[in-house]
Symmetry: C2
């Protein structure tokens, strides 16, 4: 009976020890598994955010000061001791940021373009190899300080409407993926004077519709499709 | 030795049986846990979808015809044998639909309002008890066919900017929840003539910013806050 008891005790000890070792092994294994699972969830959540949830940004004007060109655009920085322009983020500097991020195409469909700073960004991107296209209002070509003639001289293709009604859109499409749209015309007055807004979105269901609208108007305003081509050569 | 072996066998059998029973118990418990966990994940995903994903709608103008008032607005239907207006959905009829769905507040912040059809919708909603407020551009009060005077006579509160710069926004907020914003002024020319767009969104991160902008301007343009009240009584 003593040896039966001894046998039982050894067996119990053996089971407990093996059970303990097995549980320790599981614990280490599970913690590694949980870690890798949580990393993979984070990745898929990130992916969801990118694909399903679009980012919407809102800019309100007027800015109190024009954003400093050297500071925000040239990339060389501003070396002035006292600079009259803003080195803090403004609605315009945010707009610059989105435009300067452009890699391949920039489609601008804006009623009036008289702001030299914004026109310079277009010219800069064009020189960088970005395919810039502009649709604007025919009458506004004659607006004081219109930048369209200079941009055409630079080689940027421009088309305008052919009726007395207004080509009144004010949107731009960055790489066909980011839409900038609102009440904002590309004028100095719109930057530091008027009450204006821009919504910036990468929601593809919206950008695709604006891309289609741009393409429709681009073809409609092709001088070949207009009986009398009205856009003089620069 | 025989009895020691016997004791060990009994103990082993006891352990295996208890281990088997425990594993069966865990299996049943885990399957219930997994089920309830997956239901809870579905719920939280649903919640995420509701809170993060907004609906965005785009309207492009011009419409080929003005939407029929009787057909789309009055609710009485159009009884004309031959109606010159559109009974098919147009961008304007879609705009009507969103405006007429308004229950409590309608905040309009639009540069120019000369379209009688759109002004009538505002008056109709105001009579229905909707709290309508309008911010518009001071100079545009003098625009030919401005509807602002009539709306003020109806009792709708109106405020305007107090500078030579433009109050150039073109947005409306339905019940503080749906934003209608774009290049579109509330004119007949914008409906059937110009190239225009409107984006309609219920993204709360955006509507809240526009609500704040409206409230800011509403207070800024309060005649009490302007040295010389410039808005004449109707």
């Amino acid at each position: 009976m003593d040896s039966a008891l001894k046998g039982s005790i050894y067996t119990i000890l053996f089971f407990f020890t093996s059970e303990l070792l097995y549980k320790l092994y599981r614990k280490v294994k599970d913690s590694r598994h949980v870690k890798s699972e949580s990393e993979s969830n984070m990745y898929s959540r990130k992916q969801e955010t990118t694909s399903n949830c679009s980012s919407l940004k809102v800019l309100f004007f007027p800015d109190s000061k024009i954003a400093c060109r050297d500071h925000f655009i040239t990339g060389n920085g501003c070396y002035k001791d006292i600079c009259a322009y803003s080195h803090s983020d403004t609605a315009l500097s945010e707009l610059y940021k989105h435009m300067l991020a452009c890699k391949s195409t920039l489609d601008v469909c804006v009623f009036v373009v008289t702001c030299k700073d914004l026109a310079d960004v277009l010219a800069r991107l064009f020189r960088r190899g970005v395919k810039v296209r502009i649709i604007t209002d025919k009458e506004q070509l004659q607006a004081s300080g219109s930048q369209i003639w200079t941009l055409m001289k630079d080689g940027i293709p421009v088309r305008t409407n052919d009726s007395s009604y207004l080509m009144h859109h004010k949107f731009a499409l960055i790489d066909g993926k980011v839409l900038i749209n609102g009440s904002f015309n590309w004028t100095r007055q719109a930057i530091t004077g008027n009450q204006e807004n821009l919504i910036i979105t990468d929601d593809s269901s919206v950008t695709q519709l604006f891309m289609r609208e741009f393409q429709k108007l681009w073809e409609q305003y092709d001088p070949k499709n207009i009986v009398a081509g009205f856009l003089p050569k620069p």
